[in-house]
């Protein structure tokens, strides 16, 4: 089984260090995905985003997601906490595999699962000084069907 790296970080993410951490002689493909803070969302001008996280469960969840990728895939993934300016990396995922197909698939899998499962919350700060917590995906308990769930927003 591949050894993975999964971490929540209050410091800027060193994306090249993540790539170096995953690649092994058996690998022929490395994919680096970096999510960055953009300056516009839902028609509003964004200057920064603050990320809040429940760190112990978030790190367990990241490690679990990495472990769900195929055995020949290595994953190094970090997600930021704290206030990030436009252009800063909020999440970085380095994936290495013997061939590109499984590397691309694993990279996509990890980011999509992060969107659905990672206990992280995003507060946007706008040009006009206002700020707002964004809506997201409801988590589920294994017997939680007895309370309401609104429709899932677009990821």
């Amino acid at each position: 089984m591949a050894a993975h790296h999964a971490k929540l970080s209050a410091e800027p993410i060193d994306v090249t260090a993540l790539m170096r951490a995953v690649v092994q002689p058996k690998d022929g493909a490395v994919i680096l995905f970096v999510g960055v803070v953009r300056n516009r969302n839902d028609g509003r001008d964004v200057v920064a985003v603050s990320y809040d996280a429940f760190v112990p469960l978030a790190e367990r969840t990241l490690a679990a997601i990495a472990a769900e990728t195929p055995a020949e895939v290595s994953v190094a993934v970090e997600h930021r906490t704290g206030r990030l300016a436009v252009g800063e990396a909020s999440v970085a995922i380095a994936v290495a595999a013997p061939h590109r197909v499984e590397a691309y698939e694993a990279s996509r899998y990890v980011i999509e699962q992060i969107k659905r499962r990672l206990p992280v919350w995003k507060q946007e700060h706008y040009v006009d000084g206002d700020s707002e917590w964004l809506d997201g995906c409801c988590l589920h308990s294994s017997d939680g069907s007895d309370h309401d769930h609104a429709p899932e927003p677009r990821l």
């Binding site: 469960l57 367990r60 997600h79 909020s90 999440v91 992060i114 990672l118 919350w121 997201g136 308990s141």
Partner: protein, 78 residues
């Protein structure tokens, strides 16, 4: 028993944690009701789950006094 629940994301407006008073043997479902009372029926609670540092907990599981609980609103990482 007294149970402290940590707040995250949009629920941080209620402070870092909220204390609930529960009967021994109470379930997470009871904790949800007690917290709703403390948070003046905050509508977001219906879309939250409860968790420990290890995992999301079932609504039917019994609340332990020695465990730290958190309430997790809908997530939006990435």
């Amino acid at each position: 028993m007294r149970v402290r629940v940590s707040m995250f994301g949009p629920l941080r407006k209620y402070g870092a944690e909220v204390t609930c008073e529960l009967e021994d043997g109470a379930t997470v479902r009871d904790l949800r009701s007690a917290l709703a009372e403390e948070l003046s029926d905050e509508p977001l609670l219906a879309r939250c789950v409860f968790a420990t540092a290890e995992a999301i907990v079932k609504e039917s599981s019994v609340v332990s006094s020695g465990v730290s609980y958190v309430v997790l609103p809908p997530v939006c990482g990435g």
